[in-house]
């Protein structure tokens, strides 16, 4: 445990944080542009620095600056400490959940073996589940500490929604664990580099999506519900709850909920890309045979390409589907996703057994 | 390596804090949380012994312990809610109707 390996870890952590935050910030811009496209508008295009508009990208900086310059306001009767703590807790999981996700192939440099993954834990996927299950407290505290009826109602709805969709989420991931027989993320990505073969010819990469099409749909739905965005934005429901659990938040604290939400979109995409779309693997290209530099560049670019596509998919979902009613939301979670997620387990077992991957 | 005795001492302290909470506090929910604290102290002891015996059985037992805790909390809180609905209190000193 020398200084250099610590520095390498710090660099990796910084890289992941910077990527999550920048992707999150870019998502605010992408979301508005995508919405404008769908609604036949132009979207942000006015803000400029010395005439440079950069497609409206400067808007992100303006938004950030605006949030910092706003009054940090705590309503009367609110619990001051918890009011401040809530956005911090809500944002925390999105910032650390990617620590176990590998974002590129490993390489050797100067006699060191470097894995492009912050922490390779034995319990990999369970770490993501454990950390994200703590995010509920941020939402719960936000509503409870605000001393506002709408906040509390939004909080109760949000908490019930998050915990309801955590079960189908956990069950859907079990399909992936059954398929690859490990919880370690880097092994899962490694195994997705192999192929289904027909007469020795590689036909399809062994990606999770080909083993688990149903599981993918379930997990993606459950994860979108966990991020609390339309069509699952009941907790915020502008038209009924004015803004739900974050009514009484302003300035950067509100911005933290907001940024946390966009960062968790990135986390969701990274998780789905890793579990179902081969992570940094490129189909039919053996990255590990390439020299270190092109291998890393190609691998990292592939991974983030997949993440961007999945983020964009979530934007499309958000601007295409209308909001559910609360009873429909609970109905979908407990009466549709849950039985399907349980049914997915015997289906997976049968499928793997048919492919001959099992000891009898 | 930290000696096993340290873990056992810590476990005893956590257990004592939990036990004191059960005996002193009157809010049924906090009493319940103190029980969880005691349970957790015993889990810590089990895991520590499991590590020093170099056998994983203790960890499996802790897993079962958590299952029992979950079942107990679900039913226990349902009881507390039912009591609160009929008596409008969770103060255990006011719930004496079983005393006869």
């Amino acid at each position: 445990m020398d200084l250099i390996s610590i520095l390498i870890v710090v660099a990796k952590v910084a890289f992941v944080l910077i990527v999550v935050l920048h992707f999150g910030a870019l998502m605010t811009w992408a979301e508005r542009k995508q919405a404008a496209l769908i609604q036949d508008r132009i979207g942000p295009n006015r803000i400029n620095i010395l005439g440079v508009k950069a497609l409206g990208l400067i808007q992100i900086m303006a938004d950030g600056l605006k949030m910092i310059m706003k009054e940090d306001f705590i309503p009367a009767g609110a619990h001051r400490l918890y009011h401040t703590l809530a956005p911090a807790i809500a944002m925390f999981p999105a910032l650390v959940a990617l620590a176990v996700v590998p974002f590129g192939p490993s390489f050797d440099v100067a006699g060191r073996h470097i894995e492009l993954q912050v922490a390779n834990l034995d319990v990999g996927i369970l770490f993501v589940l454990a950390v994200s299950s703590l995010g509920v407290y941020g939402i719960a505290l936000a509503g409870w500490a605000s001393n506002n009826k709408y906040s509390l109602l939004g909080t109760v709805r949000a908490t019930a929604q998050m915990i309801s969709y955590e079960i189908p989420m956990g069950l859907a991931i079990i399909g992936i664990v059954m398929t690859y027989g490990t919880l370690e993320m880097n092994k899962i990505v490694e195994l997705q580099g192999e192929y289904f073969r027909l007469g020795g010819l590689p036909i399809l990469p062994k990606w999770g999506i080909f083993y688990q099409p149903l599981g993918f749909v379930l997990l993606f739905t459950a994860l979108i519900a966990e991020t609390k965005r339309t069509p699952f934005d009941l907790p915020e429901g502008e038209s009924e709850l004015v803004a739900g659990f974050n009514v009484e938040y302003s300035g950067m604290k509100w911005g933290m909920f907001f940024l946390g939400e966009f960062a968790s979109i990135v986390v969701v995409s990274a998780l789905v890309a890793t579990l179902y779309f081969g992570g940094w693997q490129i189909p039919y290209v053996n990255l590990m045979a390439l020299p270190a530099l092109p291998r890393v560049l190609l691998g990292v670019a592939t991974f983030f390409g997949k993440v961007i596509v999945l983020c964009w998919l979530q934007l499309l979902v958000r601007w295409t589907l209308p909001r559910f009613r609360y009873d429909q939301l609970m109905h979908l979670g407990w009466k549709r996703l849950m039985p399907l997620a349980i049914a997915n387990l015997p289906l997976t077992a049968a499928w793997i057994w048919m492919l001959g991957g099992m000891k009898s | 390596m930290i000696p096993l005795a340290h873990y056992i001492g810590l476990s005893a302290m956590l257990f004592a804090i939990g036990a004191a909470g059960v005996l002193v506090r009157r809010n049924a929910l906090i009493v319940f949380m103190s029980v969880e604290l005691m349970l957790n102290a015993s889990h810590l002891g089990l895991v520590a012994f499991s590590r020093f015996r170099e056998a994983l059985d203790g960890q499996v037992l802790v897993f079962f312990g958590m299952t029992v805790a979950a079942a107990e909390v679900a039913v226990g809180l349902a009881i507390i809610i039912a009591v609160f609905r009929s008596r409008k209190t969770v103060n255990i000193d006011e719930l004496r109707s079983l005393n006869g």
């Binding site: 610590i6 952590v13 992941v16 944080l17 309503p75 922490a119 664990v177 | 079942a71």
Partner: protein, 117 residues
Amino acid sequence: MNPYVPVLISFAAAVLLIGVFLFFCHAFGPKAPSPIKSDPFECGNPPSGPAHDRFAVRFYIVAMLFLLFDIEVVFLYPWAILFRELGGLGIMEMGFFLTLLVGGLAYVWWRGALEWE
């Protein structure tokens, strides 16, 4: 290196970042409190009654069901890791457990605990 060292560094970095954000929102920006502003927001009306109120029993039921099913899901993880090695016997073992899980869900459904009218 112990795999938890990077996790710790990651946690520390996240806490640091959040601290910077909180400092930003504390340090810049005006401070102009007023009694009207600090009223709880109720769409412009004067606030009526206390903000905290008791909620429907359905919400407790959802939370309790979540807890029990969460445990069952966690039990499935070690099985899923060993699934290929355990073979037919493992499927039978888990089949029994899953039957209980499905039975529980069916019971809850039948009792109408999942209804939100």
